[in-house]
Symmetry: C2
Subunit: 473 residues, 2 copies
């Protein structure tokens, strides 16, 4: 493929892309293919000869596209969103073209410095302390792993050439029972042992019970164990419960424990002044992560990780072979030492495009509208006596179930709601997913998609009610 | 920004992108900015109001671009390349548009199944055993971490709820002194302790000394330690030395040790039948990684990780919270359980575009041409008595230095070559980086860029000779 053919194909693709984004709500939001459908439609061996791009793109449309779940559809209310937006796609086009490897400053100075600046912008917008430092990670899973590793090394006094299993014995990590599974994965990866992850109970609103946290820590200390890290979640995955940060921070300060804040999804709510109270106490914390790639209209992957003391992070990850030594070392940020992978994409560019193109007010307005729509939906759930709310609506996630009169058994209710979920998703008209809250099969409706409007939420609610009629009949 | 404006801007951008790729060799390949230049050109606060895309792209061209090192320039001979190509950029445009989150099969069936198929294609092309399973990771660093974690858990008998520091005491990992720094980083992350990484000496050609490996393992066993993992490198970072895999595999088989093969850069050479001997013995290994994002014309990130037994990998990473339970579980590949991060981009698409657009023969021919050009350069180095070769040219990396008559001291020679390197890179005409081999400051010239031709290598050599005249004068 030469430059001329590329130009032609790229223009054709741009028109397809613009059409797609314009019409994406008409696609079945959750792919309706069966396991094996796509796999079996493709040959088992790579072609020896070059194929025409027309043919490849034709196959993309006919074979791959039916197997895609359309995360950019305004009818997507599942999981948490992986939002994109027009400026973000433009930036990703440039990122792919430049193909710059951003492991250290020297390998692309603009990437390192734009990243530094974007982290400063995000601090200013969200209220994260201005003296902290930020870095873009791929995912919150990796950022949380970085936090737990730093906490681990801190307990072993950063004796990087000495610390090993001997020093890591009895290190304890605390989170709530509602915390994301990535915490358990990180504890396991860090070699601390899953049994050293303490899952603290939650209150009736699914927030960490800070009295129980204090008791667990004190009991561990009595037993000769070492509390290493507490993870507070702002916006749990199931129902966006907000752990009481300022109370938790008092405890971690008192016992000198690393406090990591996981606000992967909900961090974007900090654009709104009325949500700032969520991070009261952050000055006593050590690290904070939120994902612009979830609710901030920026393509995955783009996870913003902030730390109070970047030196501790660097000492956790730094290894300096000869082939990576440069004359600028120490004068600039070499972000490869701020996380797990060495290689890094130019991810700051899309943040820059998104923030400037929307403007802070543009993002703020969209986020506020999502929260308004969630509260509208909450109102509908409350006024229909066949439905019930299963958790407080703290921002834009509504947890509910159908609960017809006469059905009291939890098993039967769970089966009924699972059936409702599957039938709803089977229509291809909306996509929602589930969780369990106090053993109850719970439908989660997340209103956070870039292009979602009132009419989509109204149509979704209409669809849910109609399907509930069928399922309960 | 609405759909109409996006369409307009995307078309404008396509023309800029095509022009850029056409003219990229005319840009100064290594950015000439100073620390702070880009950072200081940008405001400290995010704009409140939306800005016009014309302005944003104008700023990209005037403020960011001068700070970019042009990895897609055919004058880029530094590090290892992070290659892109026309079909890869087209695929990345689609990936960004779909914005599909590919953590599990259900979240985008086509992404999971295309990934499975592409890994089958790569096995067929490279000679990796067909009974192995593959998965795309972000980087070789992460894949190697996965290998070491699996080896660690295997030693602890996968007692996932029990294994912790107690079980990890005395686990030993082996690699050569020439192995990539990511091994050390992974050992540290896995909590095994840096002192449990044994760096085995190399022979005169920088290949792992397998007799020394056997001795180290036997001595450790005598001392009551547990050999957990050996990393064999095919294509070391400094000089692409190729560890003697079949000899190493005999040792790991005998002592039942996990054998991981790191072919991050050089794996692409397996497209050529004459390089297949590199992986003799692979059937006795356990895992293998190579990066299509280095030398296979596929945008970063795309690291292909293959394992003999995927069940062990899954048992290492699997954690199953309620909100990720699906009805297809067990029938399909849920790749989130195959690595560190939960979230995953749709990375198989670009592999599909690249392999089909080039055809296997197209990639093979390009790779063979790079190797031919490296050998051409090696000939020039050998015939100019001011220069000397510092390592065998095993494929497409040439390690050399200037060594004028009358200078014998290693310190003086190192300073001279460092000066030569800095002055060469300062011209912006070529970009090469260095390593140290036996204490000698070594210039590395990597010939692997997508668009590199004989004329670029000739011009580079001319530039090096001219600059050597100046530096040695």
């Amino acid at each position: 493929m030469d430059n001329k053919e590329f130009r032609k194909q790229a223009h054709l693709l741009v028109d397809w892309i613009a059409d797609y984004l314009d019409e994406v709500e008409n696609y079945p939001v959750k792919s309706q293919v069966q396991p094996g459908d796509v796999f079996n439609s493709l040959p088992d061996f790579a072609p020896t000869e070059s194929e025409e791009m027309d043919q490849i793109i034709h196959d993309f449309k006919t074979k791959v596209l039916p197997g895609i779940t359309h995360w950019q559809s305004p009818n997507f209310f599942a999981y948490f969103p992986a939002n994109s937006s027009y400026p973000s796609v433009l930036a990703e086009m440039l990122t792919a073209t430049l193909g710059a490897q951003c492991m250290i400053w020297e390998t692309s100075p603009a990437a390192a410095e734009l990243e530094e600046k974007m982290m400063i912008w995000l601090k200013g917008i969200t209220g994260i302390p201005s003296c902290w430092s930020g870095v873009i990670q791929d995912t919150a899973s990796t950022a949380t792993l970085a936090a737990i590793l730093t906490a681990r090394e801190r307990c072993a006094n950063f004796e990087s050439n000495k610390s090993g299993p001997e020093e890591f014995k009895g290190l304890r990590v605390y989170c709530s029972t509602e915390t994301h599974s990535s915490i358990e994965k990180a504890v396991k990866i860090a070699g601390l042992g899953s049994s050293n992850l303490v899952k603290v109970k939650v209150d009736k609103d699914f927030r960490m019970d800070f009295v129980a946290l204090r008791q667990a820590i004190e009991s561990d200390i009595e037993d000769g164990l070492t509390p290493a890290c507490v993870i507070a979640t702002l916006g749990t995955t199931s129902c966006t419960a907000i752990d009481p940060l300022s109370e938790i921070a008092k405890i971690t300060s008192r016992y000198d424990i690393w406090l990591h804040i996981d606000a992967a999804f909900a961090g974007t709510a900090l654009f709104l002044p009325e949500y700032r109270s969520m991070i009261e106490g952050i000055e006593h914390a050590d690290s904070f992560v939120f994902n612009p790639h979830k609710w901030m209209f920026t393509n995955f992957d783009c996870s913003a990780y902030f730390v109070k003391d970047p030196e501790l992070l660097i000492r956790t990850f730094e290894i300096l072979p000869e082939y990576l030594k440069t004359s600028t070392r120490g004068k600039v940020n070499d972000y490869r030492d701020w996380g797990v992978p060495l290689g890094r994409r130019f991810r700051a560019l899309k943040l820059w495009f998104v923030i400037r193109s929307f403007g802070v007010d543009g993002i703020r307005n969209k986020v506020a509208e999502h929260i308004r729509l969630a509260n509208w939906l909450k109102g509908r759930v409350l006024e229909d006596n066949r439905f019930e709310l299963l958790a407080p609506v703290t921002m834009n996630v509504v947890c509910f179930r159908v609960h017809p009169l006469g059905i009291a058994g939890i098993e039967e209710l769970n089966r009924l709601n699972e059936k409702l979920l599957n039938q709803l998703n089977g229509t291809g008209k909306i996509y929602i997913t589930h969780t369990k809250l106090n053993g109850c099969f719970t439908l989660r409706m997340v209103i956070a998609q870039t292009y979602v409007e009132q009419r989509h939420v109204e149509a979704a609610w209409e669809q849910i009610r109609k399907m509930a009629d069928e399922v309960c009949a």
